[in-house]
Amino acid sequence: MLRFIFRRLLWMIPSLVVISFLSFVLIQLPPGDYVTTYIATLAASNEIVDQNTAADLRQRFGLDQPMIVQYWKWITGILLRGDFGLSFEWQQPVTDLIWERMALTLVLTFSTLLATWGIALPIGVFSAVKKYSVMDYVVTFMSFLGLAVPSFLLALVLMYVAAVEFGQEVGGLFSEAYVNAPWSFGKIVDLLKHLWIPVIILAVSGTASLIRVMRANMLDELSKPYVTTARAKGLSEFHLLVKYPVRIALNPFISTIAWLLPNLVSGSIIVAIVLSLPTAGPLLLQALMSQDMYLAGAFVLLICSLTLVGSLVSDILLALADPRIRLE
């Protein structure tokens, strides 16, 4: 087991090198660079950049150098000094910008994850056990509805109703008074008051698909002979379900942990933008759109590393949960 983990960790190094290069190239692929985008964005508000400034900016950010040189400067900065560079737009260190938003992103993602699993797993099991009952149809209908409605649309509709019909504010994670206040009990309560809206919106689509997956997995397992055997031996129905088929049906969820980690950063971008949530997603999108190279590059690198770590973790967990799986 330890050898396996060590080997996998070693493999990550070349993967990360290739990924970092590819992501750098990909971000640079669109025509133009940060300065063109910047000028174009200002021009959209009829704002003009001094023509002398544009050339200055390009030189200052090193955008007039060949891409390979820019990449070399960037990657050596990271490897030798742990310096991810300055964001072009904000002139702040990239690491500060990212960490500033990570804490709330973690809170939101984990709450959403808990909510999704907490709702979806029992319902999935229930609708598999009571297959083709009235409740199964109701649940199935609801989950298809949840799948079909894009979550950003749900967010917009909720916001519209709240704003126009009830005159309430649904955006952000804090009320006016607490936005920049230091952490306190009051601020946590305020966070919880705001958190449930994005959590529900985000959980809706996730729940819907999870219910379907869980139901299908369970249906596969329920008809297997070991279930009949266990029942014949007189196990209570609840004990039987939780102990055997549910455990096996969970396999696919464990494999998806690999996607969960990168989702911390890049998941729910659109909803976060619509709801003005101070999470990492909107910052990532903004960095990509304005071709803010170092910020976007650091994000992509972070997401890729999380994916690699995530797949390792899910492999290990799978082996622990299901003795039939081997690590060879």
Binding site: N46, E47, E89, Q91, L283, L295
Partner: protein, 660 residues
């Protein structure tokens, strides 16, 4: 009322003179000097004692702040407000997350040496109480306000201006090239201190436009950097700068300088709460990459008062919410959670929704007068790389035929809800420089004549689908670049134009591109044709890109000619004589202070532009609108919508107030 101080609440009248229109500058100078001669504190007996915001009065009483009289300059700038305001309240406005730092500039105003009046026609005293210009417009002497203070209470003097220009703007490590408002004929001007409060700018050649440029946002450098604070980040003044760099973990001093002090239009300008400014409000919660809002609080040392001597601003605090999404800004607007907003919600499509919800949101609409000339300027690339295409676009009659082929009335009715009129380009109707021929030629819809012209100039043969062929047998076909996310209306207009032009046998492709690609194609001269709103309606002197090949990214009908112009003939391609004459005329106009003479020179320039007919326009640029909460007072009903007049800044938000 004092002469030279404008009444901020006068109505903007588009039909009156705009930039550069019939104002005798000398008259104006006299007025300004007159204003300066009446110090506020010597106001006639019976005038009210100067007052200040209750918060500040409390601080003064506690001894934490100097008395008002000590904070104000000897002669504060007196603003004649429509209604005397009451102190208090927080003004809410929305920003977008990225590249919207100018949204803050627009609100706190550009507190430069001088400023625009409400109508965008005259330059008025601001940080400078008055000024003098020599006969050939090469020397500008500004008289600053004695006793004026930065937001940290330190005096604002001629040293600050000289430091900002000579040590900063002209420092080649900080600015690779000197900011263009301080450059004429390729040579930068010089700022010299005459005494504590007098500073002189000297230029190598006549530069009458300098004063107007100082009223625009890009002319803010003289008042941007406070010497006592900024010099600690400058190697000339701080030999121990290396330690600061190490502490901040940056490699070079210009980076640190910019991080701490910003520049006119970069986000870092609003990210350091310690930086002294001259603005009515100063940063409390900074504008940084992770911020979800920006908060600004009143500047206790702000140097402007109303006619009764009450210190401005009236409003305590500005709160800018940062939202990524325009739709959520709209929701905030209709539910009444924004006090004044125009950016991002001012599209025509939003107008019905915003009008409908006026009562619910308790706001009113204000009209923003477009400073542009043309809503959708069509730039055919006269300097196209392909010789056959170049020949086609460079043929004036070809462009005339295409212009005659457009049904402008229908476009205006369908796309612009009837809110415009057929137009080509040039100063707007009502502007003293308005040029009827330049504005209206070839705007009738006459497909018959268009077809006749095309037949005559060699595009008579047609293919099986009825599209015309060029003399070399290729189909007449070109792509029009447009950015749909920026200008959805331009895309709609082009869809209609494609139909009209198909009727006269011309096939085009609407090439919807992303904004960076649009610029890259233009910079490389790779485009056949592109559209963009045409400026120069009220600001012909400040943005003449459609009048001749002037703007290296904007004059899209002939980018290589613009390079020739700005490089003084070294780069690019040599333009034809008509262009060369116009370049010369514009340089002359820029050096001419006498408005009447300048107008005559510009008339010759506009004649030549009309004759050359390089751009094809559709309709007069449409006015935008903004929302203002009902209880927010002293906001003019109409004001210009422009960057040189960075609305609403010159409408003086410091004298807005909440009536309830």
């Amino acid at each position: 009322m004092l002469q030279g101080e404008n009444d901020v609440n006068e109505q903007v009248d588009v039909n009156r003179g705009m930039t550069g229109g019939g104002i005798d500058r000398r008259q104006l100078l006299k007025g300004a000097a007159g204003a300066a001669a009446v110090p506020l504190l010597a106001a006639p007996a019976g005038a009210q004692v100067a007052r200040e915001a209750p918060d500040l009065a409390k601080l003064v009483a506690e001894g934490k702040l100097p008395k008002l009289a000590d904070r104000l300059p000897v002669e504060p700038l007196k603003i004649t407000v429509e209604k005397l305001g009451r102190y208090g309240g927080a003004l809410r406005r929305g920003l977008r997350g990225s590249a919207h730092h100018n949204g803050i500039l627009r609100m706190v105003g550009n507190q430069g040496l001088v400023r625009w009046n409400l109508a965008f026609t005259e330059v008025l005293p601001n940080a400078a109480a008055r000024w003098e210009v020599n006969g050939d417009s090469t020397e500008f002497t500004f008289f600053l306000r004695k006793g004026m203070k930065w937001s940290d209470g330190k005096p604002f003097t001629a040293d600050d201006v000289v430091f900002s220009i000579e040590d900063c703007a002209k420092n080649s490590e900080l600015y690779k090239s000197v900011p263009s408002p301080f450059v004429i004929g390729g040579k930068p001007g010089t700022a010299t201190k005459l005494d504590e409060t007098t500073v002189k700018f000297t230029f190598p050649s006549p530069y009458a436009l300098f004063l107007e440029l100082m009223a625009t946002p890009l002319g803010q450098h003289p008042t941007l950097f406070a010497k006592h604070y900024s010099s600690q980040f400058h190697p000339k003044y701080n030999p121990a700068l290396g330690d600061l760099l190490k502490a901040a973990n940056v490699s070079d001093w210009p980076t640190l300088f910019r991080n701490k002090l910003g520049d006119i239009e970069i986000p870092a300008r609003w990210s350091n709460p310690e930086k002294p400014t001259l603005d009515p409000w100063v940063i409390r919660e900074a504008y940084t990459g992770g911020a979800t809002r920006v908060v600004m609080e009143r500047n206790a040392y702000f140097w402007q008062v109303d006619q009764d001597g009450n210190q401005l601003p009236y409003i305590d605090r500005l709160t800018f919410g940062i939202s990524q999404d325009v739709e959520s800004l709209m929701l905030d607007a209709i539910s009444g959670r924004l006090d004044i907003q125009d950016r991002h919600i001012d599209t025509l499509q939003n107008k019905p929704t915003l009008s409908q919800n006026m009562q619910k949101g308790a706001y009113r609409l204000v009209e923003l007068i477009s400073a542009s000339a043309q809503q959708v300027q069509i730039y055919m690339n006269i300097t196209h790389k392909d010789p056959k295409m170049r020949e086609m676009f460079a043929n004036k009659e070809f462009r005339q035929a295409l212009s005659l082929g457009i049904n402008r009335r229908e476009i205006i009715d369908i796309v612009y809800l009837g809110q415009s009129e057929p137009y080509q380009t040039g100063p707007r109707p009502g502007h003293p420089w308005h040029h009827e021929k330049l504005a209206r030629q070839f705007t009738d819809h006459d497909p018959k004549q268009a077809a006749a012209i095309l037949d005559r100039i060699g595009y008579g043969r047609k293919d099986s689908q009825g599209f015309r062929l060029r003399p070399d047998g290729q189909k007449v076909f070109f792509a029009i670049d447009v950015i749909p996310t920026l200008y959805p209306d331009a895309t709609d207009t082009l869809e209609l134009i494609k139909r009209y032009w198909a009727d006269i046998g011309i096939d085009v492709k609407i090439n919807t591109v992303e904004r960076a690609l649009y610029y890259t194609r233009g910079d490389n001269n790779d485009h056949d044709c592109a559209v963009w709103p045409g400026p120069g309606g009220l600001d012909a002197m400040l943005d003449p890109r459609d009048l001749f090949a002037q703007h290296t990214q904007g004059s899209r009908y002939a980018i290589p000619w613009t390079l020739w112009y700005v490089s003084g003939g070294k780069d690019g391609q040599e333009p034809p004589d008509s262009q060369k004459q116009r370049m010369k005329l514009f340089d002359d106009a820029r050096g001419t202070a006498d408005m009447k003479k300048r107008g005559e020179i510009m008339k010759q320039l506009l004649d030549l532009t009309a004759e050359a007919f390089e751009t094809v326009g559709v309709c007069l640029s449409v006015n935008a609108f903004g929302i203002v909460k009902n209880n927010l007072q002293n906001v003019p009903l109409r004001y210009p919508n422009s960057w040189p007049w960075p609305n609403p800044g010159p409408a003086l938000p410091q004298q807005f107030f909440f009536s309830t």
